[in-house]
Amino acid sequence: MKVIGFSFGYHDSSVAFIEDGKIKAVVPEERVTRQKHDPNLPINAFRDGMKYLNWTIHDVDKIVLHEDSYNKFSRVLTSSLSGFPSTRLEFVESMKSWLSEKLWAPFNVSNEINFPLEKIEYLGHHFSHSVQGFMGSGFEESAILVIDAVGDWACSGVYRGRWENGHPHVECLEEIAFPNSLGLVYSAITGFLGFSPNDNECSVMALSAFGEPNYYKEISKIIKIKEDGLYEIDTSYFHFINFYSGAVTKKFENIFGKARPFNQKINLSSFEDIKPDSEIKRYIDLACSLQLRIEEAIISLAKYTKEKTGLDNLCLTGGVSLNCVANKKLLEEGLFKNIHIPIEPGDCGTSFGCALYALGQDMELKPEELKYEAYLGLKYDTEKTIEVTEFLKSPQFNDYIMKTAKQHKYELSVEKIENLDELASTIAENLLNDQVIGLYQGNSELGPRALGNRSIIARADKKDVAHKLSFSIKKRASYRPYALSMTEEAGEKILKTNSSIKNYKWMQYSCDLKEEFYEALKYGCHIDKSTRPQVVNQHQNKLYYQILDNMRKEGHEAIINTSFNPSGYPMVEHPSHALAMFVRTDMDILILEDTIIRKEAL
């Protein structure tokens, strides 16, 4: 039985292809269109996925949408009317997009791909999140906590999932309604701090480590934690309804001052202790206070969930569960024996959750067999891209390098190494020689974290390597830390944690490093000596494990792993995207499957 799941309409749209309980592929539209957080109907992802799997539309038994557009429309309409008379613009703009397109989403899908409307099913937005958490967790029974910005009406929710005779059942216990949203508060303050909401929340999380919670009292008045463990937002500080007036209200500015201009320099570094100036200090203290309060609210919600369900397993999902620092605190709290966070807990991942759940109503499934690995994307042939490199020494190309890419002249050399052990040891050797390497192999990983198939890797003990990575390759702010990848064996040795090392396979939790290993891995850590580890075993990713193991044998317990994407773009998908980034930046080596492409200075 073949089922396709669609998620789209707000941000990070995607398509999931499911066959008999196996996830065959999940394709985010952004990877195909090269538009980060692409919200459009994922028609390009759909076509590429169908072609890759060799499916035709006649093979497909049903299509499941992640959202109930009528329900969402009722929230949008209610909210834009409630602000009368100051929400005319919000009303006009939202009605234009809803009445002309969004409201008819199921019809649009049906027309666009020529699929009968009666075979299209749909779930509520937060229900999709809850099943996205549960399906694939491997749990027979579990509490589910969804913490998000907003979907249809809900912003957070507590659910219970269980299996009965091979069919999944998820029931809602409580849903907190709009505008009480932790995600919206975090995004609004992200905007106030000069970053892009719905994109740069990770920058706020990174900044929080430099600050002191000097605004904790004020933030606690905004995010109130009630006696029963639930939270309440004082919305008078935000423009959640009349959002064209800016993210925060005057009342917010009266307490926290003016918003940070986006181009105001933040001269902090994740590996050097630099004193921030007083203006920046105000912002990082706000970030720190916000982060602290969000962590408290999440833990409080988790306690509430535990009391309400009495279960030992938790599935945590929704966009807020991308906050790896809060997840760390939750793990340390030890409220639940097991916690599962799906590979992509944001909207992008709801496509496979809702499709699996809908499939589970029609056929018997086994929870254990639904567990998945991270590499759910598509795989591409690299041959045609590699052929292009033959010509990357022509005068036109050299002109381009000097004039447009503003780099030193170089020539490319290409070497094919088919033996995996040899390839891994060559890569490790080059890492030891301070080379920054783009690693492109196999199917792309789902979610915002690179896990060894679309990664840029480097040694973690050299300042100049980290600098090169930040300034000439990734072009990202130096206060944002990199993550570390390590083998399971190394993880056991260097991570300061009481929980199972297997929790760290998808970079969903930050974790402190044991003191004695910090100096040697400092450039993959944050200023507070924590890192966002990826712990790898042989079965998950053979080549990557071998590389890490070779590095370990040379005394490097872990290496830097950052996503393979130029600033402002999604992760590379096709090998030609990888080659383009390689030639446009100072990256030293590109691995395209079993081919090593090196730059040699002229």
């Binding site: 390009n44 109930d68 329900n71 009317l81 005319r88 009666e118 299209i120 000069g194 446009r584």
Partner: protein
């Protein structure tokens, strides 16, 4: 036609772009158009069998990608605001069975128009920083016009086919411009009607809406699978 276009550009640069919001929005649009072009070029790479031709397309897309990024820098420099991308719906050119040369012809015409427009924009604009950036782009685009012309022949299009295709693309572009104009007119009408609707309707329901937003828990049960019935 060209004269009319020049007048239009003069009017836009000298008068409309005095409104910073309009100028900045134009920069966002230029970025989006360049990025869209890059996407089409990426998609066409795997369709090209000749590796040298593939290389030329690749080099072309590298430069176009630099142009898209240059518009991001220009936007941030000139507006003092963080750039946010206009997210276009990506649509492949023509049908899936159309030969590759049709896509290249499409890109060629686009390059030709862009070169012309950017030349005049640079001529009429006063900001030195902006002019310098645009001039660099024009220089590249002129190269791209020649390149796409050569590529067309390399991928096997005949001169007659090319001539016909150019004409049909040009007509389509004018059609598109006309439709864009109509749609902006439609938008203005929609804005007015919806504003009237808002002021006629909202006074009677806003209190009820506010009351609904005061509910702490969601009362509607959206937690089941629903299906459409025809």
């Amino acid at each position: 036609m060209k004269y009319l276009e020049r007048v239009f550009i003069f009017f836009t640069v000298k008068f409309l772009w005095k409104f910073k919001g309009i100028f900045h929005e134009a920069l966002r649009r230029f970025q989006a158009v360049e990025a869209d072009g890059v996407w089409h070029l990426y998609r066409s790479l795997d369709q090209v069998d000749n590796k040298k031709t593939r290389f030329k397309l690749f080099l072309h897309l590298l430069e176009e990608e630099s142009h898209a990024d240059a518009f991001v820098d220009m936007y941030e420099e000139l507006s003092g605001e963080k750039f946010t991308k206009l997210l276009f719906e990506r649509k492949p050119i023509g049908g899936k069975d159309d030969p590759l040369w049709k896509s290249i012809a499409f890109v060629h015409i686009g390059e030709e128009h862009a070169t012309e427009r950017f030349k005049y924009i640079s001529k009429f604009h006063n900001n030195q920083y902006f002019k310098e950036n645009i001039d660099t782009i024009v220089e590249d685009e002129m190269g791209h016009v020649d390149l796409t012309e050569t590529l067309l022949l390399e991928v096997g299009a005949s001169k007659e086919d090319i001539r016909k295709e150019y004409r049909s693309i040009s007509i389509n572009r004018w059609k598109d411009s006309f439709l864009r104009l109509l749609s902006s007119l439609y938008e203005k009408i929609a804005n007015t009607l919806l504003s009237i609707l808002y002021f006629a309707f909202a006074p009677f329901v806003f209190l009820q809406s506010r009351k609904k937003l005061k509910n702490y828990f969601v009362s509607l049960d959206a937690n089941k699978i629903k299906r459409f019935e025809r």
